[in-house]
């Protein structure tokens, strides 16, 4: 399903999306995700394709805003029945069946305030499905869920939506959520900067903006120094790295480089792409250590816990597979590597 949308206010957006199953729209906060969803639902003035010019009540869209917006004065089943027509008993029965499909049997009579965040979300989903929409819109579906159960609840939610057979567009700033999706679209600067299956988008970001949204913190511009045998050698602010030659390289002299923190490993020998760096900051993350290093450029590595944890000031020998040094074309002037994280670390 294709959805296009252009709006001027509250911020300019011009977006063309291909939806496939559960599609995640990844964008930083303030990038216009909520406005885009509202525009598609007809709640913000915009030109949209399909349903151009139709008022919200004539768009077959199910909208789940952040916080779900259940009607506080209605019971769970009455919330679901809001969109249903027909005799009272029939509405009651259909609402009950929808709640049961969402795994909410026995909660029909509860008011929203008597339900947990995850339960409220599923009541909102049942309510949205009741009007038999052609598209579901979800705004930050994980924001009101607690961290412990978030991934599980999201996976269940996606399962329910797939079972309902309705395409869904979920806006979020959380790259974790995107990993579960059928398709990912990255929104930055009012445009879709990249879209495709998550595996493709996360391993081959097309620009700094895309890489940043995909959660990659190590972003650099690098100079091509040598080019032979299917590999290029790059000078990345003093750090020499080798990477696979991308098909578009041609005669480019400068390229963008993205390195995932988890792609770096402690080196055991002197292979290629091995370098030493001094640890500047160390933070434990469960069984891993997030180590910020000065390797010429500042670089962040997510290392498995060793017998002894790395200390600030330690010199570490690190390595990275050439395949994990991701390159992309530098094209537009606006595309700068000045990710706030990189800038603040080097400053």
């Amino acid at each position: 399903m294709r959805v296009a949308c252009r709006l001027e206010r509250p911020l300019p957006l011009d977006v063309d999306l291909q939806l496939d199953g559960f599609t995640v729209l990844l964008g930083a906060s303030g990038s216009g995700k909520t406005s885009l969803l509202k525009a598609i639902a007809g709640l913000v003035a915009a030109r949209t394709e399909p349903w151009s010019g139709a008022p919200p009540q004539r768009r077959p869209v199910g909208y789940l805003p952040q916080g779900y917006a259940l009607f506080p004065h209605l019971r769970a089943w009455q919330n679901v029945a809001f969109a249903l027509d027909g005799p009272h008993a029939e509405q009651r029965r259909r609402a009950g069946a929808l709640l049961q499909r969402m795994g909410l049997s026995g909660l029909d009579q509860r008011h929203p305030r008597e339900l947990s965040g995850g339960q409220q979300q599923r009541v909102a989903l049942a309510r949205a499905l009741a009007r038999e929409p052609q598209l579901l819109l979800l705004d930050e579906p994980t924001s009101a869920l607690d961290a412990v159960t978030r991934d599980q609840l999201l996976a269940e939610l996606i399962g329910l939506i797939r079972a309902a057979g309705v395409p869904a567009l979920a806006a979020t700033h959380d790259p974790h959520a995107a990993a579960l999706a059928d398709r990912v679209a990255l929104l930055a600067g009012g445009r879709i900067v990249q879209q495709g299956p998550p595996a493709e988008v996360f391993t081959q970001p097309a620009s700094f903006a895309a890489a940043r949204l995909a959660g990659i913190r190590n972003l650099y511009t690098a100079r091509v120094v040598a080019h032979e045998g299917g590999q290029v050698t790059l000078d990345c602010a003093g750090l020499r790295l080798r990477a696979a030659v991308p098909p578009w390289l041609g005669g480019s002299e400068e390229v963008g480089v993205a390195i995932r923190a988890e792609a770096l490993a402690l080196a055991t020998g002197d292979g290629s792409n091995t370098f030493t760096a001094r640890a500047v900051a160390v933070r434990a993350e469960g069984l891993l250590h997030r180590v910020t290093l000065d390797a010429g450029p500042v670089i962040e590595a997510l290392l498995p816990a060793a017998v002894t944890a790395p200390q600030v000031g330690d010199g570490l020998s690190l390595t990275i597979a050439a395949a994990h040094v991701q390159l992309f074309e530098l094209d537009i002037a606006a595309d700068q590597p000045s990710a706030p994280a990189v800038a603040s670390r080097s400053g």
Binding site: K38, A41, G42, L43, P55, P56, Q57, R58, R59, V61, G62, Y63, P65, G67, A69, F71, P72, H73, F82, A83, R113, R127, A128, A130, R131
Partner: protein, 253 residues
């Protein structure tokens, strides 16, 4: 004395001051000699009947206006705001004179209406007219605040569930603003029922409770006001008191 106690003492003092006239009424009422003066009961029915009618008109006119002000932004909205507040800010006597100027037998609205058979001086219609002007702004201000208290998002969801704006208004907005709307009705009720200044000038007849109280005071003396005064409180206060207390404790949702 601690600051907390000082504040409590000052609060009690202020409460006692405000309550003093009511305690005085309880004290001064000649309970054994209490009886209605001639025409008192008539005044009671005039007040209740016409105030109810005025309320219906106030709600019918005021609700769409309050909704418009709560939910729409437009150029010159400040002017509409000011016009709504004008009758509320005008001294009752002045408001009564204004009504006479426009709706009186020689007024630019009153004259044609009179030729059409609707006399707006000293008639039930004039009485209701005076009450509408006395109470409508209070209802509009309360109803507007009540509508503004309903999250827009809930109305948006109602629309996106395929319901018409009209149906969303009745099934989402009204239920969620009931308490505020009821408080507005109660306020309008007590203002309309108790209006003296405007009514005195526009409709000396038919006599409702306020004007009748004044007449009793003038013609007989203070003794003649007690029965009607108690009746007035019994009729006017329960609704706004209950709703006022309920909205103070508002935690329905």
């Amino acid at each position: 004395m601690s600051a907390k106690r000082t504040i409590a003492a000052l609060g009690l003092l202020a409460t006692a001051t405000l309550a003093l006239p009511f305690a005085g009424l309880l004290w001064a009422t000649p309970w054994l000699r209490l009886h209605y003066a001639a025409g008192d009961l008539g005044a009671l029915w005039v007040s209740i009947g016409y105030t109810l009618l005025a309320l219906v008109i106030v709600v019918a006119l005021g609700t769409p206006l309050a909704w418009w002000l709560a939910r729409h932004r437009f150029r010159g909205k400040w002017l509409v705001d000011a016009l709504v507040l004008l009758p509320l800010l005008s001294p009752p006597l002045a408001m009564g004179l204004l009504l006479v100027i426009s709706y009186g037998p020689y007024g630019w609205v009153g004259h044609p209406l009179q030729r059409a058979g609707l006399l707006l001086t000293n008639t039930p219609a004039a009485f209701v007219l005076a009450q509408v002007y006395a109470s409508a702004p209070y209802y509009v201000v309360s109803a507007r605040a009540a509508f503004e208290g309903v999250p827009r998002e809930l109305e948006h969801i109602g629309l996106s569930l395929g319901r018409s704006p009209w149906r969303v208004f009745w099934r989402v907005t009204v239920p969620l603003s009931t308490l505020g709307l009821a408080a507005g009705v109660a306020l309008a009720w007590v203002r309309a029922l108790g209006e003296f200044g405007i009514v005195l000038i526009v409709a000396y007849f038919p006599q409702g409770i306020p004007v009748k109280l004044w007449v009793n005071l003038q013609e007989v003396g203070l003794d003649a006001v007690y029965p009607l005064l108690w009746t007035f409180f019994a009729v006017a206060l329960p609704l706004p008191l209950v709703l006022g207390l309920a909205s103070r404790r508002q935690a329905i949702y």
